[in-house]
Symmetry: C2
């Protein structure tokens, strides 16, 4: 058995999409798709010769629209989303501790990590954690829109991510500097927002970032609650 974790990048929104593969069973799970990269992802699955079992979201994205609905239609995969995200059209609503199984014996573990949004969920698979917008490489997601909450993000990271083994690979939903991967050990020691900072100071930092409103939010959030589909169920 092998790890086979593929990371794909959308340069327009700086979004990472992940494809996890059980090679022996030729089955895959795709996490955080991007509507404009639908063709890329379908072609990649075909080249890899794998069947897509699940299309999963880490949260309701505000900066791009998902391809989850179209991927379900094209491949027959089951869609899954965290239950607090309002993505009512997803086939599976995931709570903390829930698992998705694929391939012969692969298990994706849902870790509820609220803060960027109240539903934000990370996924653990074979020493890899897909952290969405909760924990970024030497950064973290913003907490000032949707259901964001800085204190919750601090608790999620410290209680549910920084408690993972130090060599766990961290795969975020975005990077804006050309980086691709980190580890829990590195982020615990060197994350400039989260390492060695107390909760009150983190909340003050996050509440004073004064970031502009995401350009896509009013389009992306309602679209993503519908899995990116423009037609009704």
């Amino acid at each position: 058995m092998h790890d086979e974790l593929h990371q794909l990048f959308d340069p327009d929104s700086s979004t990472f999409t992940y494809v996890l593969v059980d090679r022996a069973a030729a089955e895959a799970v795709l996490v955080d798709s991007v509507a404009q990269r639908f063709d890329r992802d379908v072609a990649m699955l075909r080249r890899l010769g794998v069947t897509l079992r699940y299309v999963v979201e880490t949260h309701t994205h505000a900066d791009h629209v998902t391809a989850a609905g179209r991927l379900r239609e094209a491949t027959g995969a089951v869609t899954a989303a965290p239950f607090k995200c309002g993505i009512s059209r997803a086939d599976v609503q995931l709570a903390h501790g829930d698992t998705l199984q694929f391939g012969h014996a692969e298990v994706l573990h849902a870790i509820h990590t609220p803060g960027h949004t109240s539903g934000s969920t990370s996924y653990l698979w074979r020493g890899n954690v897909l952290t969405g917008d909760t924990l970024l490489i030497e950064g973290c997601g913003r907490t000032d829109f949707q259901s964001g909450d800085a204190g919750s993000l601090y608790d999620s990271v410290h209680e549910r991510l920084f408690t993972l083994p130090a060599d766990t690979r961290v795969w975020p939903a975005h990077d804006y500097k050309g980086n691709t991967v980190s580890t829990i050990g590195h982020e615990k020691l060197h994350n400039p927002r989260l390492a060695g900072r107390d909760r009150a100071s983190f909340i003050e930092l996050m509440n004073n970032l004064q970031l502009p409103k995401p350009k896509m939010i009013d389009i992306a959030v309602p679209a993503n609650r519908n899995l990116g589909l423009t037609h009704a169920a």
Copy 2:
């Protein structure tokens, strides 16, 4: 034991750099670096918490300058290059069938695949083949400069790559369309230049592409023979 193959992309030259990791031993091998991404690669190795054992080239690149020399200086890694590439400054000269060992029991196998250049070499590791500019995703490297030879490339691909198991992942040195990975099985069936085409027809195709001379070639080739270093040994 896990596969841990990291693919990094340089958008300026559309070059992929690969980092292969033995997680248990915390050791890595880096293949096909890019001078301008030296800082990115060093930072990534630090975040992963791994020691770099080898810096390897697939061939003498004509489109970008390697960071191999600087990576050796910064990390103490050993540099390795195919013996027919004229990279005389590399610590190890690799011939067909040679291996590089790292970590507890990891073995990188050198497969001489001439055609793009006479020294071009692919590397096999745990069901993954790093094909350099020999075999690209639904394409192949050009054969009209340096020591390129279309017939040799055809033979290399058919005799030494297409004979690998169908589910072997193909990781090329470049992609210009946003793709990241393929498989031997897919390329055997669907590569528009190489699938189902006889040798004579392939040679005619490749000899009539009429591609422009690479902009960087007169700078890149001599620099890469010196591992990208501007100072003498």
